[in-house]
Symmetry: C2
Subunit: 372 residues, 2 copies
């Protein structure tokens, strides 16, 4: 294996695959990145057995392939070396069987590597069950739902995000049973099979990090029984699935409605934020919202510390008094886009719904907290 | 107590004094900030018994004093409230004896406070033994020396920075006995007494944070037997001193010299940084520098991981081979200003000295490490 590669190209690929490296992995070889150099491409692979990321650098002006070969190298060191090396191009070659030399004009590193035969076999064959959607929509969908998953391993299905596909409709939901985020995406092509999978929240978080924000192409989602592969640009991202039945979250969304309140999202967020200052140490962060005679009040109190009252004039002749978690409200508000948010009230001990004023694709729901 | 104050003015004062609040303080009232409102000023004080910070806001356009009074309020909450309140001005007043109301048009907080009689008496009378120097010089002096103090409480004097004043010369030194930073400042006025004090490193670190970087005035250093007060702008910063005898660090600086090497600081820093990639997990971070026939080489190796060799052409016909801690070298290099650094070599088992090419005021010293 011997090649010369543009530093920035290799660094970006290493940064991407290294998201699959886990420092607490108990299988030593999985702390390594697999380099495979073919006649026409360099393939980098990393895995923690939960997710696998592969980046493919095709032969072009950025890479000069002198001879093929393969090796596994400690991910941490190679990443740090490539990041800190100076110059536009970097030379890499194997020597003494399992050693790798990385050099520029004035710097020379040699690292001990491992034969790729010792690296686990990971099947990344692409399924023919494939759904395609814009990278930007997938990235947005993850941002708007992934935060609402549960951290509690006792009910494992809720630690993932549920993706359902039926014909041209993709529905993505996340809930920790106290709140819910439900996002709908209309696919451009219809998909023949019914999809109902649960992807671990942590893995979607890693996918989010490497999904480019300035790429206007599509991502292909390859569906399997026990795993899913996302393919975009020159990257393949594989995640295991959580097995089990995801609850029917639509039952949580009320059909009746008391009234809607359209309100400036930022102003409302700041009110909730201030109202939670005096109880932001506690887990529950309970605040109380009251609407009366066109006045919205948010109050909160702690016997030990003090109390707070926030006011805002609203155009609303309805009355309600409802308590909820300020943390959940702020998280839901922060995922909504646009200047205005529509709050839907159903009753004093019923959920509160949140939607962007101009867009129905995302529904967030927060359960109230009984304070008496 | 009742007053109206410009939000930004109060926030800056609270930010400054809150540096003296310690979350792990065992005396509950010390988690509070003392508000004292007089006819002509508002005085805020916070202390953790180790440092005390006082900020004085004089009566002017920024504050409208309605009636005087005093109270102690939990620092954490008041800071968060003032930071998040909207509007240019904030109203604050006492009610029900020991409660404080903080309000703007749409927000109203009431906090439980404590009588200032329960706050410890802290004497901040200014000594007549005072040394004056520009804030920028003091800030720079702390940055260039404070990093070299010891973390080891076993030799308590080394956990502080030593300041000696003799006539017009101020000498500031810090050492952990493996390295040394020595900064000299020429005072504009001579000082009659001999000063030789040790200020805790942690306290100087807090002082550094509140010393303004855009203020071209002076700081007054008031000297006492067991404490020191720094006064600048509207702030008083008091620190206890460490008692004990500071070692004579000048003995560490060699008088003889083998040769000097003038080198680009940034290039050399990057070489040392790369050379330490393969051993940056370990405490010692040993790298070896070699000069031979106008070539400077830095090498490092780890049997388990691999090795690295960095090269640079230098204009130097001397020969040397010396090993040292890359971490110490990088820290010393990062505190020096200017594009070029002068390394002074004395011998293979003698200290290395570092100086800025154009400025003699800072000397850094690193002890070599024997590798055989």
């Amino acid at each position: 294996m011997k090649f010369k590669i543009k530093k920035n190209v290799l660094l970006e690929a290493l940064n991407n695959v290294s998201k699959a490296l886990s420092s607490k992995n108990i299988i030593p070889i999985l702390s390594g990145i697999k380099f495979e150099l073919f006649d026409d491409k360099l393939v980098l692979t990393a895995s923690d057995n939960d997710i696998t990321i592969q980046s493919i650098i095709k032969k072009d002006d950025n890479i000069e392939i002198i001879n093929t070969g393969s090796i596994v190298v400690k991910g941490k060191y190679i990443l740090d070396i490539i990041r800190k090396l100076e110059g536009k191009f970097i030379n890499i070659e194997l020597f003494d069987d399992y050693k790798i030399m990385i050099y520029t004009e004035n710097s020379e590193f040699s690292l001990n590597g491992i034969d790729i035969k010792e690296y686990p076999q990971i099947d990344l064959t692409l399924s023919s069950d494939v759904v395609s959607l814009p990278v930007s929509e997938l990235k947005n969908m993850i941002a708007q739902t992934n935060y609402a998953t549960s951290m509690d391993e006792a009910r494992i299905v809720l630690t993932g995000v549920n993706i359902k596909i039926d014909n041209k409709l993709l529905e993505c939901s996340a809930t920790d049973s106290y709140r819910l985020a439900l996002k709908k995406i209309n696919l451009s092509d219809s998909f023949e099979k019914i999809v109902d999978i649960i992807i671990p929240s942590k893995n979607l978080g890693e996918l989010f990090k490497i999904l480019p924000s300035d790429f206007d192409g599509n991502v292909n989602m390859y569906i399997y029984n026990n795993k899913v592969i996302f393919g975009f640009e020159n990257i393949i991202f594989q995640s295991r699935l959580i097995s089990g039945n995801y609850p029917n979250t639509k039952n949580l969304i009320p059909n009746d409605i008391l009234f809607n309140l359209k309100i400036n999202r930022n102003d409302f967020y700041n009110m909730v934020d201030r109202a939670s200052i005096l109880n932001n140490d506690k887990d529950n962060n309970i605040i109380t919202l009251e609407i009366n005679d066109n006045l919205l009040k948010i109050t909160s109190m702690s016997l030990e510390i003090g109390k707070v009252e926030e006011k805002m004039s609203v155009n609303c002749s309805e009355n309600i008094k409802i308590s909820f978690s300020s943390k959940y409200m702020m998280e839901a508000l922060s995922k909504i886009k646009g200047d205005e948010v529509v709050l839907t009230f159903v009753g004093e001990i019923r959920p509160i719904l949140l939607k962007e004023a101009e867009d129905d694709s995302l529904i967030s729901l927060i359960l109230p907290i009984r304070t008496y």
